[in-house]
């Protein structure tokens, strides 16, 4: 699983949705929160992880990295 949002920490500021270079995130209008919508396109660059003000995003690497 690449980028993963911890909704207990997420404040819905939208930085990840705004900055992701691949547009992996979409915006859930009902919850007013970001969602990982195109997981398979994540290139694990870590920009969302770096930029999240609440450290609500974790990145884990696929098995082929091992």
């Amino acid at each position: 699983m690449p980028a993963k949002i911890d909704y207990k920490k997420c404040i819905g500021c939208g930085r990840c949705y705004d900055l992701c270079p691949i547009d992996v995130f979409a915006w859930d209008e009902d919850k007013d929160m970001p969602v990982v919508a195109y997981e398979e396109e994540c290139w694990h660059c870590g920009i969302c992880w770096m930029e999240c003000p609440k450290r609500a995003i974790d990145i884990t690497y696929p098995a082929s990295f091992w």
Binding site: D23, C45, Y61
Partner: protein, 571 residues
């Protein structure tokens, strides 16, 4: 019918800049500073897009004391010959201008508020060496920089200079009229709106092309975008739209041969000891040293493989603690996520060995690209190319220089350029082609087609080429084009962006294979099994491809040689 009825939005500008990386932002800022109306279209968000999105740890090439720009041009040509064999390979006049203006570019960056100095307030110069060269004879200096935030800073600086940015906007095609560029069409990749931009001049700044090959360190299963460079950048959008509009591309037969590291920490090979003047020390699995360069060529690697000496590793454990501390700073400056990968895997960069893989072509980071003269003008009037797009240029230093330089020279062109007149029929046909995938149900997903293209390149082109394989590759590519391109489906505007990318990748792949077929010789890293010798009639000759009234033209000719006034030295 007026344009507003065909398009959801219409913009009118002096200059349209396509791509908001370092080259795009610097040309936009410079052009706007001189009073031009500038619109910049960016596929992602300028603050974190492009090859520098995660940051940069070293920048530029500067002449050492006593070294002239001419020395650096010769040095650069030498580095190209190390990989590609004998020949000129690219226009040396652009490189001369770049080296001659290295310090001007540095000042311009500082004026934009980009920090160029190290913690102690001084410039941090480091020796730089070319592939296979002894660090002691290095002529050039690089600058170590803390540029984790280079992109947010550039984006801010550009907006302050009132550049209008359209983000999440992907260019569909260029608009032309009477042989000149008059703008472009685009789609908003979140709303699906169709956009027309009228412009007197267009600057292509979309970066490299690589997505017809698998990533440097391929990851299997579903993560097909795990490239070293930002995958949004390397779909070759700028190259493909320039070609379709009639501009010329150069050297599409020559691929790049960068690093391939099995133990990929997402950090560039440039941060390895090599750039800090520390000799690199590849080892075989028993710990015995492998001479530099051996493992990098296909034949060298195969020999090591047959002698049971593979895998090959890089070990940094012999280096002092101070070096590792510098490496860690580089990780933070360029790719913070490296720490995360190391932590995830329990990989200690200080003591673990990095496994290196056989070099294979996997991108066009070498001499391919949009052909531009030393004024960065492409062959189509009104069209400019900057940064990694330009044939022969590939790095952040060149990106900043070409950006500022083009921005500076645009007012002269704009002042005499006629008002752009857009052909509505052309807009209409581009719109239909671009939006078609939104209406297709039960069709082909863009990644399915992209994977098929990459498989063709891997199987029929790649490192060992021959006529039979290349022709089979072309035949299969053609059937993909006929059968699957019309069936491409986009569930939403996000996937429409991917469909448009695949169309660009497919066009460039065809050019790549055609150019490889044309070069009937083995030279440097271009290996033709059916023509194993270097053909001297090909010395200095490059492939150039363009469309003329819809017909593809493949031409062989020499790139320009260094002008006599440059051959005398420089500033």
């Amino acid at each position: 019918m007026v344009l507003e009825q065909i398009a959801d939005k219409v913009f009118d500008t002096d200059v349209l800049i396509i791509g908001g990386g370092i080259a795009g932002c610097t040309s936009a800022a410079k052009a706007s500073e001189q009073g031009l109306k500038v619109l910049l279209a960016e596929k992602a968000k300028t603050d974190r897009s492009g090859s520098a999105g995660q940051g940069i740890d070293h920048y530029g090439i500067f002449p050492r004391e006593g070294v002239t720009p001419l020395d650096l041009v010769k040095h650069w040509q030498h580095s190209l010959r190390v990989v590609n064999g004998e020949g000129r390979w690219a226009d040396p006049n652009i490189m001369f201008r770049y080296y001659d203006n290295a310090f001007w570019t540095l000042e311009e960056l500082e004026k934009l508020g980009i920090p160029m100095r190290w913690d102690d307030g001084e410039f941090y110069w480091m020796p730089h060496r070319g592939p296979g060269m002894d660090p002691r004879i290095s002529l050039k200096l690089g600058l170590r920089v803390h540029w984790q935030n280079i992109k947010p800073l550039l984006a801010k600086a550009m907006r302050k200079k009132s550049v209008h940015t359209l983000e999440r906007t992907m260019i569909v095609d260029l608009l032309t009229n009477k042989g000149r560029v008059v703008g472009a069409t685009a789609v908003d990749t979140r709303t699906g709106e169709f956009i027309v931009i009228k412009a007197k001049a267009v600057v292509i700044a979309t970066g490299l092309f690589a997505r017809c090959y698998d990533p440097e360190t391929p990851h299997f299963w579903k993560y097909k975008f795990r490239y070293h460079w930002c995958p949004a950048t390397i779909s070759g959008d700028g190259w493909a739209i320039a070609y379709r509009a009639g501009a010329e591309l150069a050297s599409m037969d020559i691929t790049g041969w960068g690093f391939r590291i099995r133990d990929d920490l997402n950090i560039s090979f440039g941060n390895f000891p090599i750039n800090d003047g520390v000799p690199s020390r590849p080892l075989d699995w028993t710990g015995e040293e492998v001479s530099y360069g051996t493992w990098q060529s296909a034949s060298g690697y195969n020999k090591l493989h047959q002698d049971a000496r593979t895998p090959i590793y890089h070990s940094l454990e012999h280096l002092p603690d101070d070096f590792h501390k510098r490496m860690e700073v580089a990780f933070a400056d360029e790719r913070m996520v490296s720490f995360k990968i190391a932590e995830n895997r329990g990989f200690n960069p200080r003591t673990h060995w990095y496994e290196l893989m056989l070099n294979k072509p996997h991108n066009f980071v070498n001499v391919a690209g949009v052909y531009a003269d030393e004024d960065l003008k492409a062959t189509l009037p009104g069209l400019y190319a900057v940064g990694d797009c330009v044939a022969g240029l590939h790095s952040c230093g060149e990106a900043a220089f070409t950006g500022f330089f083009t921005g500076k020279s645009l007012p002269a062109f704009i002042s005499s350029a006629a008002e752009p007149v857009v052909d509505k029929a052309q807009v209409e046909s581009q719109k239909q082609a671009a939006l078609a995938p939104l209406n297709i149900k039960d069709g082909t997903e863009p990644m399915e087609l992209e994977s098929a293209i990459r498989y063709i390149c891997d199987r029929y082109v790649s490192q060992f080429k021959s006529e039979g394989k290349l022709r089979e590759g072309l035949r299969r590519l053609d059937s993909l084009r006929r059968v699957f391109l019309p069936k491409l489906m986009a569930k939403n505007p996000h996937y429409l962006m991917r469909c448009l990318e695949v169309r660009n990748i497919m066009d460039l792949t065809e050019l790549h294979i055609q150019a490889c077929l044309q070069r009937r010789e083995t030279r440097g890293a271009h290996i033709r099994l059916d023509f194993p010798q270097q053909d001297r009639t090909w010395d200095n000759m490059l492939t150039y491809q363009r469309l003329e009234s819809g017909r593809p033209i493949l031409e062989m000719r020499e790139p320009p040689d260094l002008k006599p006034e440059y051959a005398r030295g420089g500033k």
